[in-house]
Symmetry: C2
Subunit: 420 residues, 2 copies
């Protein structure tokens, strides 16, 4: 079996050797003998679990910087949706390749995606070597015939999952309560229950407009509406959850729902900044961190996302002690991995070998009184030197094989998309 | 005269050649002949003005990550001030070297500093090759004998300025209204008027506590208090200015006062997040951006600071169109340079040759529909490949000569400081 030995890397401030066998962290000790296939030099590097980006629309790298500084609805209606309608499988494949490249380069080894053209996304993820839970964005716009199409599409995708490696998992992706009817949401929930508790990913309680419309259209706030539909469950992960009151937090906690905080997107789109991280955690809700798609946030750097989450939380609460660096790192690793059902997110024997070596030989880690503080508050994604996912080396010396081609091809694909 | 020719670099989306003669941008044209000393290849790179960090305590790199997640007063009283009392010239010299290294690596070519041990700071800046306006932090803690010491120290430092190159300018650094008496503030203002309008840098209106104490101690809010003292003038730059009402904005504008916004510090220390960037700009106040010292913010990355300023402003205003990437880049270049009195901050013939080449061959710039948007919203300091300041190449291929030694030495200096 193929093994990797990482020599003398810092773990919690102490040098260790780490043996990876297959796709598992097999042993961690002060010294391990060097009888292995591949040796990685860990000197002046620290090891961290691969980061987990819990809310993305990966292929939207194609839209990076295409239409910033616009109000939400004109932005969607004039810039995003007309171009998304033109997307081909080839476009999504390259957009996702670029997203995976960007994630690897900034230390992310798993992500939770929602987008169109599932097979193209999956193919890109397979090739790039990282882990993903992929949901196909699902809409019916309250039209019964579109609902039937969505159901057929879901059945077809689910039936085809055997084709993929264990790095790729399937999830259901009802887009939002304003684009998916209550009936289709309930069908999706039933589908989930009947099919191995397939996870469900939905945008929820993201903007004040959504809340207002939810009350006028359904008679309830978004969380209460889903509760009335009976689809709050441990199978559900909601992205955003900015607008939830104390009773709704209780509902989410009681039903085992998971939440993903996306600070950059919430700030940049001006959706709302008072995300109740502390209250949700206190209630027992798992809370992870995401970047959202590059059209809104505009990168996939989870180290930046951790910093933003912490600083924004401290800022609006007027509490410099809230949302610590350690809590952010937990949210961005173990919490996310657990939510995806991967035994990853910890540097511990028996866990999946999804990890990064961080270059300590940079100003961000000088001095290094507190590694986690430096990682979250001083560094950014560029500190990641080496990435291992599923026991395979995806990046070394900050270089991913083939990265120039991916950048060039995807850039061309994006220009073609907008001009055709 | 020594010349540098940058070939085929992107400027506003078009390739140009840029000729630097001495420390000046001499010519910019589609094609310039290659008869020069040094040629820099600008292919797949874009040129931007060197960034200007308008509020730092450079040597506080020594305190990076030393004491995070603490409330402000225990943090200052237990962690910062006791260690600052032990600082030697050698400590400050190395701390500033590391700060300059970090700034160069992330594209900053000028900064406005306030700290202790002025000569040590100046020596480090001279060696590292960037530009700075340095103010010596000045306190009297309302003690007349300390005020006399501060005056003598100011006179001595000012008299010694002939020793430095033109890259270094002198400013007066009264720390804050709660550490410097009104009488000393007025003496400083008079000193400034009588000595070539020497700039003055002060922390002002940073926290609610400061405002409350100002009212109870002086009978006025901070800006009104300085107005009563008669020291609002174009010679004054205030750092923070988070707590100012409409009338105070009018006062600052009428008196020509300049303001520096420090989004990371204001968020992390939970000082306040509703900085009135748009209102100040509308009133005609020059507003620049700073990072603050590494003990509070915890890096010196001005590209990150631009993103934070924009996202925070959009966020608290609930306006996705506020604080555009273009406005942020202006604030972080031309506005700052102008406030320091350097003819820099623009890539234009006749301006100082303070500039960066940004590596476009990275995911942050793929696709590159809008370079400024990608720079501010998608990139971070690590995109900077080459830095020229005052006509000299300080970094090429992301490497600054001697950087490993600076990181190692300063790390050791910081550990020694805390343990002695």
């Amino acid at each position: 079996m193929k093994t990797i030995l990482i020599k003398s890397v810092e773990l919690n401030g102490k040098p260790v050797d780490i043996l990876i066998e297959g796709n598992i962290i097999k042993r961690i000790a002060r010294y391990l003998p060097d009888e292995t296939n591949i040796v990685l030099n860990g000197r002046k590097k620290a090891v961290i679990p691969g980061l987990v980006n819990m809310h993305t629309h990966a292929a939207m790298t194609l839209f990076r910087g295409y239409a910033d500084e616009m109000p939400l609805m004109p932005w969607l209606e004039e810039k995003i949706w007309p171009n998304e309608a033109k997307l081909t499988h080839e476009d999504v494949y390259w957009g996702t390749k670029l997203a995976c490249l960007e994630m690897i380069k900034s230390g992310t080894t798993a992500f939770f995606d929602m987008y169109h053209k599932f097979p193209a996304t999956a193919r890109a993820v397979e090739e790039m070597g990282i882990r993903a839970m992929l949901s196909s964005a699902c809409f019916d716009h309250f039209q019964p015939e579109q609902a039937e199409k969505a159901k057929a599409h879901t059945n077809k995708l689910f039936a085809g999952m055997g084709a993929y490696s264990e790095r790729i998992k399937f999830a259901l992706g009802p887009h939002a309560i304003y684009t998916v009817s209550g009936k289709l949401l309930q069908w999706i929930d039933t589908f989930s229950k009947e099919n191995f508790n397939t996870p469900i990913h939905i945008h929820l309680a993201e903007t004040e407009t959504e809340v207002k419309n939810s009350i006028s259209q359904f008679g309830y706030t978004p969380v209460r509406y889903l509760n009335r539909l009976g689809i709050l469950s441990p199978r559900l992960t909601i992205a955003h959850g900015v607008y939830v009151d104390d009773e709704e937090i209780r509902m989410l906690a009681d039903k085992g729902v998971k939440v993903v905080h996306n600070p950059a997107s919430n700030m940049k789109l001006a959706s709302g900044i008072q995300f109740k991280f502390a209250e949700m955690k206190k209630a027992g809700i798992p809370v992870a961190i995401g970047t959202d798609g590059c059209s809104s946030s505009n990168n996939l750097d989870m180290i930046e996302a951790m910093k933003l989450a912490s600083l924004l939380g401290k800022g609006w609460r007027k509490d410099p002690v809230a949302l610590t660096a350690g809590e952010m790192l937990f949210a961005a690793t173990e919490e996310g991995a657990g939510m995806l059902g991967f035994k990853a997110g910890r540097i511990e024997e028996g866990y999946l070998a999804d990890l990064c070596l961080v270059d300590l030989n940079t100003p961000a880690f000088a001095p290094n009184f507190n590694f986690v503080s430096n990682l979250v508050y001083a560094a950014n994604g560029s500190c990641v030197d080496t990435v291992v996912c599923d026991g395979k080396i995806l990046m070394q010396n900050k270089q991913v094989p083939g990265e120039e081609e991916i950048i060039e091809q995807t850039t061309q694909i994006a220009y073609n998309l907008m001009s055709r």
